[in-house]
């Protein structure tokens, strides 16, 4: 048992680290992260977006983008462990990110399985290069956790599909160039049998993107409306009516892409309890506070070492356990509880809103408001528990009343 790289891993790490140190600025401490020069736009992302595109292009040109993709599509043919090592090294630098995950992590792998060779050559290298951004048009007002309940309608006439309906919770739709889309092409077939999957240009006529203001005040998500949007049949991925199977490919990649919840963690609450006053002492002297710190440390460390066990499995060439679900449940709930408790320790001072990113209050306030979104996005706590029970422990699926009947006979959405 050790934490050392193999000789090959060490060689790869050095190569990565050499390139990064020549091309990026190293963080001085863990909170010393990339910050955009200007914070305009409702999502606050405008200069961050261009910076992220440019950083991806720089990586692409040096062979460090989409490491796990085949070289012919702009990747590096790297192993899973090399991908982890790259991420570890890159995280030591102040570099922009957060815009390419849906394209490179979800749309790309789906295209690789289902697109034609010509399409792969046309769309994948620009996706790797990073100047083109993709979004995912899946969830609808009546279909979130129950994704197969979507109602956006696709009708075929000749070689062209016409799309009408509405999507929701689409991250980055307002700056995306392309999208992957699941529609219902047959309302008389059972729920999971009538879906068809496409990719499309977000500049197609008939698409309207409206931002959703979240509880954080930001607007990273959107509603996307379709009015007679035309898609050529050549942009269909998978067979007509086989869209659920294709969507599962995408979603499996989403589970891998979703990682730790970002925001306050053990370090922040530990520092805060050492600094804040509680009945004339530092809060950390209090027994109740110490019990909470111990619990959070155990979760923090447990996730860290679970990740290391997974990396070890990758290093041996094994498939890691499906523990990404655990990571999200535990880290999102920990984030929420730490944020809430931290603000409690600050007492009345926490009530005064702060937008200064260097102010610890802003960090805790932002985390408290962001946590509910993290507990829902990419699989709710409840859906993830089902996944653990069914896929890890092998327990039976719930009894379903919607699997064999025609879709148009199933009640759906909110009735209140």
């Amino acid at each position: 048992m050790d934490f050392n790289d193999t000789a090959e891993e060490a060689k790869f790490r050095k190569e990565a680290s050499d390139w990064l140190s020549a091309n990026a600025e190293k963080k001085e401490h863990s909170r010393d992260v990339y910050r955009p020069a200007e914070m305009t736009g409702e999502g606050g992302e405008s200069s961050a977006l261009q910076d992220a595109k440019d950083w991806m292009t720089k990586k692409y040109e040096a062979g460090w983008a989409c490491l796990h993709w085949p070289k012919e599509y702009g990747g590096r043919d790297a192993t899973a462990i090399e991908r982890v090592i790259w991420a570890q090294e890159e995280s030591k630098y102040k570099v922009p990110g957060g815009f390419h995950e849906i394209g490179q992590g979800m749309a790309g792998p789906t295209m690789m399985l289902y697109a034609t060779e010509e399409q792969k050559k046309q769309y994948l290298p620009p996706m790797a290069k990073g100047q083109e951004i993709w979004c995912q048009l899946f969830s609808e007002p009546g279909a979130g956790s129950d994704l197969a309940g979507i109602k956006t309608k696709a009708e075929l006439d000749g070689d062209t599909w016409t799309i009408n309906g509405q999507k929701v919770w689409t991250s980055g739709a307002h700056y995306s160039d392309y999208a992957i889309l699941v529609t219902r092409s047959d309302f008389n077939a059972p729920k999971h049998k009538g879906l068809t999957y496409f990719f499309l240009d977000m500049k197609s006529p008939g698409i309207e993107v409206r931002p959703i203001r979240q509880i954080t005040g930001g607007a990273n998500f959107n509603e996307v409306y379709f009015t007679d949007v035309k898609i050529p049949d050549s942009q269909r991925l998978g067979e007509v009516g086989d869209g659920w199977k294709v969507a599962l490919t995408t979603l499996m990649n989403e589970r891998l892409a979703v990682g730790d919840a970002s925001g306050v963690d053990f370090q922040e609450i530990f520092e805060l309890t050492k600094e804040s006053d509680f009945n004339g002492e530092n809060a950390i002297s209090n027994g109740g506070v110490r019990e909470k710190l111990a619990d959070w440390y155990c979760e923090y460390a447990g996730l860290k070492y679970t990740k290391m066990r997974n990396i070890s499995a990758l290093s041996r060439g094994d498939t890691p356990g499906p523990d990404a679900s655990i990571t999200k449940i535990v880290s999102a709930n920990k984030l929420q509880d730490i944020a809430n408790f931290g603000m409690d320790l600050m007492d009345n001072a926490s009530i005064i809103k702060s937008d200064d990113k260097d102010d610890i209050r802003a960090l805790f306030q932002g985390s408290l408001l962001g946590a509910p979104l993290i507990r829902i996005a990419g699989g709710t706590d409840e859906i993830l528990r089902n996944i653990i029970a069914e896929q890890v422990l092998g327990m039976p699926q719930d009894v379903r009343v919607d699997k064999t009947v025609p879709f148009n006979e199933i009640p759906s959405g909110s009735k209140n």
């Binding site: 530990f270 950390i284 460390a301 996730l303 070492y305 066990r309 070890s312 089902n386």
Partner: protein, 369 residues
Amino acid sequence: MNFEFSDDQLVMKEEVRKLFEKEDSVKRNRSILEGDENFDKDLWNKVVEMGLTAVTIPEEHGGIGLGFLELCVVAEEMGRAIAPIPYSSSVYLATTAIINSSNDDVKKEYLPKLAAGEMIGTFAHSEELGTPTSDNAKTIFQNGKLSGEKIAVPDGDIADLFVVSAKSGDKVGLFLVDADSKGVEVSKAECFDGSRSYANMSFKDVDAKIIEDSSSEAIDKLLNQAAVLFAFEQVGGAEASMNMAKEYAMGRYAFGRQIGSFQAIKHKLADMYISLTLARSNCYFGAWALGNDAPELPVAAATARVSATKAFYECSKENIQTHGGMGATWEFDCHLFYRRARLLSANIGGQSLWKDKLVSSIERSNLPQ
């Protein structure tokens, strides 16, 4: 990175598991719980035959000379089997205390006997209600003689030798007492987990040998080492409890379907799995720190201990809940694990003590990055 047990260690784990399965250790647990014997001598002899009492003892002292990582995999299987034998007292505690010692005479005299299972050892530490720490001992060692009282000594009525914590000058050290020495009085105590045996004892001017008397840190180190090993035992017990709950939920039908198809039960099982996975991963780091005698041991041991205690408690109580009324009967095995979970939560200091130790250790060390 190779944060996993080696193939040899995993083979060893499998062998130990097979032994306990073949011997139906859970059934033996119940026999001890319901009978008059204080431990299962037949099972103990089989464990000795397999060499499990000699794992960490150096070859020069009659042992196998393996490391603590091997002992960790054995501990997990002990926990899964809820074995009714004095293994933890003799191996994790007494043997480790003597291996840690700088007194070669004590090593030469006792380690070969412990390795061969000719002697069973234990650690006599607690003195009153509350938490045993390195500095609250009232037992006194002076001029080669030891006097005082100890309570709730695990396997105290079984052991042939006691490692005893006692004050010597301004230090609290570790001393060794033969059970048959003049002035030793042992009284068996009824135990909450009747598959294990406990005793109270008093020492009046008893001959004692020095294991370590130059610093109080010897006790802290021993407790940290034992904490990792007990945490593996707890993880083994937690996993067994979770698997029992799962098997039952798959085979029990209500409202016309398997109860394991209800989300109320599935989410309970998912939470057990989460708690178990976090504990197991923390145990692995504990094993690494223990095996390497790393400066991280205090943090690693407390982290493993706290999360494994939590996992075994949660899994053993929710296993009963999943079984419904039958889970709370004497006849079903659920309570054997529930009792063992409680015993293991208290035996080297309770959850509040270890949480406090964990935060103190984090305060003393550099923050993890």
